[in-house]
C-alpha cells in the first residue's frame, strides 16, 4: 500500500527540500521504492539537491497537463535504483498546477511506488495546498525559533482541514522534524528547546536533525546527505527518522559529529 508523504513547513528556508531528499534516499536505501516530487513550481530546487538537474527533460507540469507520460518524466537516481525524482518546472508558475491533474499524477504514482514524498513550497498558497492535498501523512519541518514554530502551527491547522483525508473525516498523521538544531545554543537559551517546540505544536517527534556543515556540503555535491555522508550526524538523524516512518521504534537522540580530542576541547564554533 503506497504512502503519500508531504514535507511541509509554511516558512521558507527551514530545510524542506534537504529533508525530502535525505528521507527519500534513506527510505530507498532500505529497499523501499520511493519517488520524490518537487511541488515548488517556478522555484525548483529538489533536482539540484538530488544532483539530477542536467537530466530533467519533462517535469510535473508536463505530466499534470498531459503533455508527457509519467514514465517519461520520472528520473531514476544513479546512486540508488529504488529512488526516482519528478522535477518541478522552473519556467512556469503554480497556477499551472490543476487540482484534477495533480490528483491523477498522485494516483499513477501510487501504483508504481511504496512512498511518494511531496516537497511542498513555502507558504500556504496553491502550490503548498496542492502538495498536501492528497497526502496520507505529513512531516512538518521546523527550526527551533518562534516564527518557524508559529508557521508550522498554521500548516498543521491546514493539514487538519484542507486535505482530502481531513475532508473525508479520516486521521492525518503528522510528525515533527526539528532541523538545524544546536543543543549547545538551545542550552544557552539562544534557541527554543525541543520540549518548548513540542509543547506548542503537540504532534509526535520524528527526529532532531542537528545543524551541521555536512548538510551544506551534500547539497553542493548534489547528493542527499544520507547518501553523500551517511556517517555524519544529520544523516544518522534522517536515517533514524526514515526507520520511524516505516513504523520501527527507534529511541530519539540528537546525533553529534565525532570530534577529535582537540575539537572537543576547543571546537566550539563562534555562534
Amino acid at each position: 500500500m503506497a504512502k503519500v508523504l508531504v514535507v511541509t513547513s509554511g516558512k521558507g528556508g527551514v530545510g524542506k527540500t534537504t529533508s525530502t531528499a535525505a528521507l527519500g534516499a534513506a527510505l530507498a536505501l532500505s529497499g523501499q521504492t520511493v519517488c520524490v516530487v518537487d511541488f515548488d513550481v517556478g522555484l525548483r530546487n529538489l533536482d539540484l539537491v538530488m544532483g539530477a538537474e542536467r537530466r530533467v527533460v519533462f517535469d510535473l507540469i508536463n505530466v499534470v497537463q498531459g503533455d508527457a507520460k509519467l514514465s517519461q518524466a520520472l528520473i531514476r537516481d544513479k546512486r540508488c535504483e529504488h529512488l526516482s525524482l519528478l522535477a518541478a518546472s522552473q519556467t512556469r508558475d503554480k497556477d499551472a498546477l490543476s487540482s484534477e491533474g495533480v490528483a491523477r499524477v498522485i494516483e499513477e504514482l501510487r501504483e508504481k511506488f511504496d512512498w511518494i514524498i511531496c516537497d511542498s513550497p513555502a507558504g500556504i498558497e496553491r502550490g503548498a495546498t496542492l502538495a498536501m492535498r492528497h497526502a496520507d501523512m505529513a512531516v512538518v519541518v521546523t527550526n527551533p525559533e518562534v516564527s518557524s514554530v508559529r508557521d508550522s502551527d498554521r500548516i498543521i491547522g491546514l493539514l487538519d482541514s484542507k486535505t482530502m483525508r481531513a475532508e473525508r473525516g479520516e486521521r492525518m498523521d503528522k510528525f515533527l522534524l526539528l532541523t538545524r538544531y544546536d543543543p549547545a545554543r538551545a542550552e544557552r537559551g539562544e534557541m527554543l528547546k525541543v520540549d518548548d517546540v513540542l509543547e506548542i505544536l503537540s504532534i509526535p517527534l520524528l527526529g532532531i536533525v542537528p545543524e551541521s556543515q555536512a548538510v551544506l556540503s551534500a547539497s553542493n555535491l548534489g547528493s542527499p546527505v544520507t547518501i553523500a555522508n551517511p556517517d555524519s550526524a544529520p544523516a544518522r538523524a534522517y536515517l533514524d527518522a526514515a526507520l520511524r516512518l516505516m513504523g520501527i521504534d527507534v529511541p530519539i537522540t540528537v546525533p553529534t559529529d565525532k570530534r577529535s580530542l582537540f575539537g572537543a576541547l576547543f571546537g566550539r564554533r563562534v555562534a
Partner: protein, 246 residues
C-alpha cells in the same frame, strides 16, 4: 484570587447586526411599481420603521435612473439605507452607500390590512394557544482539539469551550464567555455581541490579545505576574479585571 489588576479606559467598538429587508425591483419598473403599490395598498404599515436595502443587481442602472428609483420609493415612504449590486459610477455623494454580502434570514410576511381581510381574520375561530415554550439553554460550542495559528472560531450565539491550546495567531470570537482548557497563546474576544457579563477563563495565560464587550488589552499591557498561570478575566465598570486561579 491573588492578583487583581485594572486597566485604563479605551475606545470601544461593538458589533451589532440589524435586520434589513432587501428589495429587488425587476424590469420593467413600470409594472413592478404597479405590483408594489398594490402591496402597499394591502399592507400600508409593512415598510414603516424597517431598514431597506435596494438590490439592483438585475437592473444595471445608471446614476440618474437609480436616483429616480430611490426617489420614487421615498415618495412611498420606503427609506433606502443601502444599495447592493449597483455600478460604482451609479453611486456617490447623496446616494445611499454600497452594501454587499449579508446573510439570508427569515423576514416577516406582509399582513393584509384591508378592512375586508381584517374582518375575515377576526371571524376565524381562534386556534389553541401556542404551547408553553420550554426555556432553552444558552447555546455553546465545544472544540475538542487545539486551535491552530491562523484558525478563527467565530460563535456569536454563545459560549465557546476549547479543550486544547489556542495557538499564537489563532482567534476565538464568542458572543458569550470563552473557556480554554490549555495554554491560551492567541486572541480571545468574548462578549462581542454586547455582553459585558462574558468572561474569559484559561488554563495558562499567554494571550496576545483579550477583549470583553469591545474593551481589549494586548499582551504588553497584561500583568507579567499572571503570565503562564491559570487565570480569569472579567469586566467591571468598563475595566478589564484579571485574577489568577491558582
Amino acid at each position: 484570587m491573588a492578583t487583581v489588576t485594572k486597566t485604563r479606559n479605551s475606545i470601544r467598538f461593538r458589533g451589532r447586526s440589524f435586520l434589513a429587508l432587501v428589495l429587488a425591483p425587476e424590469h420593467p419598473l413600470q409594472e413592478w411599481f404597479v405590483e408594489f403599490d398594490d402591496l402597499l395598498r394591502r399592507s400600508p404599515s409593512f415598510f414603516i420603521g424597517r431598514a431597506v436595502v435596494l438590490d439592483v443587481t438585475m437592473l444595471n442602472l445608471d446614476k440618474a435612473t437609480l436616483a429616480d428609483l430611490i426617489a420614487k420609493l421615498y415618495d412611498r415612504k420606503v427609506r433606502v439605507m443601502g444599495v447592493e449590486g449597483a455600478k460604482a459610477s451609479a453611486l456617490g455623494l447623496g446616494m445611499p452607500p454600497a452594501m454587499s454580502g449579508g446573510r439570508v434570514v427569515d423576514v416577516p410576511e406582509p399582513v393584509d390590512e384591508t378592512p375586508e381581510a381584517v374582518a375575515a381574520e377576526a371571524a376565524k375561530p381562534k386556534s389553541a394557544p401556542p404551547p408553553q415554550l420550554v426555556p432553552s439553554t444558552a447555546p455553546s460550542l465545544v472544540i475538542d482539539h487545539t486551535v491552530r495559528s491562523g484558525q478563527s472560531i467565530v460563535f456569536p450565539e454563545g459560549d465557546v469551550t476549547v479543550i486544547g491550546a489556542v495557538a499564537s495567531g489563532a482567534e476565538i470570537v464568542a458572543g458569550g464567555s470563552v473557556h480554554v482548557y490549555g495554554p491560551l497563546r492567541g486572541r480571545v474576544l468574548a462578549g462581542t455581541t454586547g455582553n459585558p457579563a462574558a468572561r474569559i477563563f484559561c488554563h495558562k495565560l499567554e494571550a496576545e490579545l483579550l477583549s470583553i464587550d469591545g474593551l481589549y488589552q494586548t499582551a504588553d499591557e497584561m500583568d507579567a505576574a499572571l503570565l503562564g498561570r491559570p487565570a480569569q478575566i472579567w469586566l467591571k465598570d468598563d475595566v478589564l479585571n484579571f485574577a489568577a486561579l491558582d
